[in-house]
Symmetry: none
Subunit: 194 residues, 4 copies
């Protein structure tokens, strides 16, 4: 009897379909089918297809951060924190059935989805970036990291995570989170120069 709340059901179905087919190619009816409900029901909980996408995005990002923060609590050292972030990122993507790349890319090109959504995206993006930035700054303060350009370094590091996801999905590569994470951090920390 204790059914999952309808709204959650829709969000999950939406995630699966949107990430697999992209926003425009996803039909509202498909989401309903996957959620095992009637098409009209979606409009009881969301005011439009774009709204479903928007809320799903927020839900997804929140989930990401929740898992991340939990992981970060244990660590104290900047290096370990960065390592945790990379691991978390990879695990998250893998758990998400490896479809998350789509989400990012499709969403970034949907300016037609209204300024409000754009704002949500930018702010969640900044939030992620800031989380990393703080760690790097902490590392510099502690004397563990060099005095590099923090913003750039953050973009660099953050981008590399995206690049890895992108490669994973586009090339259909299976990877070992721990091994990859360690290699990534090694490069980031020590550079590639001999």
């Amino acid at each position: 009897m204790a059914e999952k709340p309808k709204k959650q059901l829709i969000l999950e179905a939406a995630f699966e379909v949107f990430t697999k087919k992209g926003f425009h190619s996803t039909k509202v009816e498909e989401i309903a089918e996957r959620a095992g409900i009637g098409k009209g029901t979606i409009y009881e909980y969301f005011k439009s297809k774009a709204d479903v996408f928007h809320e799903m995005y927020i839900w997804y990002v929140d989930k990401y951060f929740a898992e991340l923060e939990e992981g970060l609590l244990i660590e104290t050292e900047p290096v370990d924190k960065l390592l945790k972030i990379v691991k978390n990122h990879i695990v998250f993507l893998t758990n998400m059935k490896s479809l998350a790349g789509k989400l990012l890319s499709e969403s970034s090109s949907n300016m037609d989805m209204g300024a409000e959504f754009k704002k949500t995206m930018v702010s969640s993006y900044k939030e992620k970036m800031d989380r990393i930035k703080v760690i790097i700054e902490e590392g510099i303060k502690k004397g563990v990291f060099r005095e590099i350009d923090v913003t750039l370094c953050t973009m660099f590091f953050f981008g590399s995570l995206g690049g890895i996801s992108h490669a994973m999905f586009l090339l259909d590569i299976d990877i070992n989170p721990d091994a990859v994470a360690e290699k990534v951090i090694d490069i980031l920390l020590n550079g590639i120069k001999k």
Copy 2:
């Protein structure tokens, strides 16, 4: 009299519109208007809207590589080559009126565009990666770089370029190509550890 060939005209118009509005939101008629020709004419040169996109993508990538290779010819040292790649990437994006990010993201989510296009994308992706990979391997052979995981390092480096583009567009940041390129390479080469 020396008019630009019609096909080229369409490709350029398509690039502008597709990158500004994304694939689905771009109307064929808009491309025609921007190209200063009739809607029907497009179908004389391309068999569908997807085909226009596909060919435009190839043209864009070719252009990217042409400029890149030209730049790489001058350099002999792996480090300088990587530096050139970063600079070229940033300059290219800037020249492209900062719209290229869209291209990547939108395209990656269009599985509905057929397997053929997917293949084109993957292969051009691999081509770009390989170009970088070769340089890194060369650096290792020459003893300039450590013996790191080349594939991963490539993904890492390549991804960081994407991350920088993404940040540029999403956050609307203006950057100085040379300064940024040097900082990026500095991090890549020396790492961030003190």
Copy 3:
């Protein structure tokens, strides 16, 4: 405690909404809200939206006639009766918050509401007409009126009432029932010729 019967409540709410927004633009939920009840409850008393409209129409016409007949009882002379009809018509419309025009017009165009409703409308229309016809015939018999075409005169007279309502609503004119009624009857009785 002496609550109004639910059905009556719905009918009144329906009248307000239907007359303000027309049949198609009225949502069943709106009627329920205005009646202060749940949407489903309407279907306990009526079998469809069209049925609500149908019954409301009958209720409205009955009310009209009830008021009219009451007024006519006092009068004995045909001329006074016609005068009473005009006054009653105008007062009725005014009391109805000047929305009745809508009712007539919307309803007349709803062939899609089924033959049954059409019949109700026609028969109520005929009933109104007959009421007038009888008075005119009586007037002729009494030698007060000329031997004009009774049916046509009825239509003419009845139509003019509608015309006045229509003008009132469309042009948003406020009128004095007594003054107008007397002028109307004056024209009807004496014509406009000098």
Copy 4:
């Protein structure tokens, strides 16, 4: 080869369907079918269903006035002019396949069609009224008519025309334009009092 212009074709088809079924019950596709064209073509000439209705209404009113004015040119006497108006009205309705009543009624209840259309309707209504008003005033000036309330008389007369149409359609009566017109004018001029 000399086909009727598409826009005109659509307007005529729209008139037939709208007047038969009312605005809401008319499907755009039905208009297209009746016009013998594709659904999309309608949107080449009109920007919405409401727009088709709006333009059709104007076209219809213009046609009415064109025929009316032509008829009025020949007459010089106010009485003859009124007679002409009545005849014209009846003939017009008959020619229009007896569907015009719908038009008036449906349209008057479509406040949801936007303020612009409301304005068009009111102004065409006033125009018709003014045409009649002028004739009555002329009659008074010439000493043919009594000094009655002109506005009211106009509404009265105009309404009676509507009443006759309404009766014709609702009761499905066939009438002889000339005979009816003369009787109507007789009542209007001389009243019904003996």
